[in-house]
């Protein structure tokens, strides 16, 4: 029994973008794909090169966040449902990335405060006693006390930052 992907591959002609990208990758030597000279063809050419540049740039090769990965996976999933010729999985992935990039242009995340070597286990112990806190820290604690209910407020009292 033939799978859906197989039938899709044999039933439909290869789109011209496919042949363009295959030609760029040197997989179809000689045969310059038709449509490259059209405006749409030129745009596709530039887009593919841009994607390639981005992929090859180590500055941009930072590990994506879990949320970005999830969105990317969803985008790839959505892409897969259109056409998924098994011969060219890489190009499908690139389209997915392009879709994800349209969803979220920049994702900012925390920079860890430890070097790769020390495992990040160090915990700074702040003063326990009343007056010894940095004022800024006291404000946070007081604000937390005010909003965060009983568990936070057992120490109600010695966080005296309010009203300064």
């Amino acid at each position: 029994m033939r799978t859906a992907a197989e039938s899709a591959e044999t039933a439909e002609p290869v789109p011209w973008q496919e042949s363009l990208s295959a030609w760029m990758d040197g997989e179809t030597p000689g045969a310059r794909p038709e449509g490259l000279s059209t405006p749409a063809g030129r745009e596709a050419w530039e887009t593919y090169h841009l994607i390639g540049d981005v992929l090859r740039n180590p500055e941009l090769a930072r590990g994506p966040s879990p949320a970005l990965r999830q969105r990317l996976a969803q985008a790839i999933e959505a892409e897969m449902t259109i056409v998924a010729p098994r011969r060219r999985p890489l190009r499908v992935g690139l389209s997915g990335l392009a879709v994800a990039a349209a969803v979220a242009s920049v994702v900012w995340m925390a920079r860890p405060y430890f070097s790769a070597g020390d495992g990040g286990g160090e915990v700074q112990v702040m003063a326990d006693a009343a007056g010894a806190d940095a004022p800024a820290l006291r404000d946070y604690l007081e604000a937390h006390r005010q909003m965060a209910g009983p568990s936070a407020v057992r120490q109600v009292s010695f966080d005296a930052g309010a009203g300064r």
């Binding site: 915990v123 800024a136 209910g149």
Partner: protein, 354 residues
């Protein structure tokens, strides 16, 4: 005399309480040998249908007792080397709840509360700070909806009675089902369900902090005259704590709550005379996490602290920079919970933003 007070949090247990007077002992006995199952619908056999709910009912009773009873007494908070006592008077009158909380050690402080309005008296500055109360304090217990509690905590009562502040109480153990939160050991008055003692337990079972009544009067023994403050505040400055609701998600902030935690509050506020700070509060019903977000100025002013993980008593903190913002996460949860939260928080400036 105890008339219903406006409920800030949804109370699941109320209907059950009203329907079954004196159900407390039945609940205690029932829970003693049984772990509250999170998916009781799938439990086979003759297991009572509402074991998990009953655990929640038990906590809701404790919560109700703190709100509806007249009580006065001294409770003591202890954490590490630190110890401090406070005197609390709580009376229900025709207008609702009135409470006076006076700190007995260190700098004098008083909190006068009428329902949800709190006046914080700061004598050395002759200032009254007016705030809105959010959530209950000791001997109150819950923050937010207790419905989901049994999915993240195993709650069971012990049979053997205990004694705190001269009164008999029942121990309730609240054990976390994962490493994202602390556990608690409570002791609730056998007769009234008022919380007499609460301990916060770390994963190793050691006490992180604890608070307990050392003396307590109930009902008719409470003198309403004790509600009056000794300070003459007529010519004191009055300050309003300013707060506006904000929508951080709409501004591009994605703060992934740890399992079981839900957002209970999102405000923009002033803090200690600085620029406005956004505060997001997450809670799993017992523990709370505050996330503070403020602009980061890359100047000589470098009082952004802590940088990375820090601990202050039972409170863990984690501070970090995300884009041009400084983010401080803190709460009475294990440090790793905060680290994960801080490190997976994302800021995605909206394209074509306003």
């Amino acid at each position: 005399m105890a008339r219903p007070v406006a409920m800030r949090w949804p109370m699941v247990g109320r209907a059950g309480l009203a329907a079954r007077p004196g159900a407390g002992m039945a609940v205690l006995a029932l829970l003693a040998g049984m772990a509250a199952a999170p998916q009781r619908a799938q439990a086979a056999g003759p297991q009572p249908p509402d074991a998990a709910d009953d655990a929640v009912v038990l906590l809701a009773r404790i919560q109700q007792a703190a709100r509806k009873l007249d009580y006065s007494g001294v409770f003591t908070y202890q954490q590490g080397q630190f110890i401090q006592s406070s005197h609390v008077v709580h009376v229900i009158d025709g207008t609702g709840e009135r409470e006076r909380l006076e700190v007995l050690d260190g700098q004098p402080r008083e909190y006068l509360r009428h329902n949800d309005e709190v006046q914080c008296l700061i004598p050395e500055k002759k200032t009254v700070l007016m705030e809105q109360r959010r959530g209950d304090r000791f001997p109150g217990l819950l923050l937010g909806d207790p419905k989901a509690l049994s999915a993240y905590y195993e709650i069971r009562a012990e049979d053997a009675p205990h004694r705190v502040a001269g009164r008999e109480c029942r121990i309730v153990l609240i054990e976390p089902r994962d490493a994202h939160r602390y556990g608690y050991r409570l002791c609730a008055d056998t007769e009234t369900s008022l919380l007499l003692k609460a301990q916060t337990l770390s994963g190793a079972g050691s006490v992180v902090e604890q608070v307990a009544f050392t003396s307590l009067q109930l009902g008719a023994d409470v003198q309403p005259a004790q509600l009056a403050s000794g300070w003459k505040t007529r010519d004191w400055k009055v300050q309003q704590a300013e707060m506006q609701p904000v929508d951080l998600a709409a501004r591009g902030w994605r703060v992934p709550a740890p399992p079981g935690f839900v957002q209970v509050l999102e405000v923009s506020r002033t803090m200690g005379g600085r620029k406005p700070v956004d505060q997001l509060v997450l809670s799993d019903g017992l523990a709370a996490i505050s996330v503070f977000i403020e602009p980061y100025y890359d100047s000589a002013r470098s009082d952004y602290q802590p940088r990375g993980a820090a601990r202050r008593g039972a409170i863990n903190l984690y501070g970090t920079r995300i884009a041009d913002y400084w983010v401080t996460v803190l709460g009475e949860v294990p440090g790793d919970t905060l680290r994960q939260l801080a490190e997976s928080t994302e800021y995605v400036p909206l394209a074509g933003g306003r």
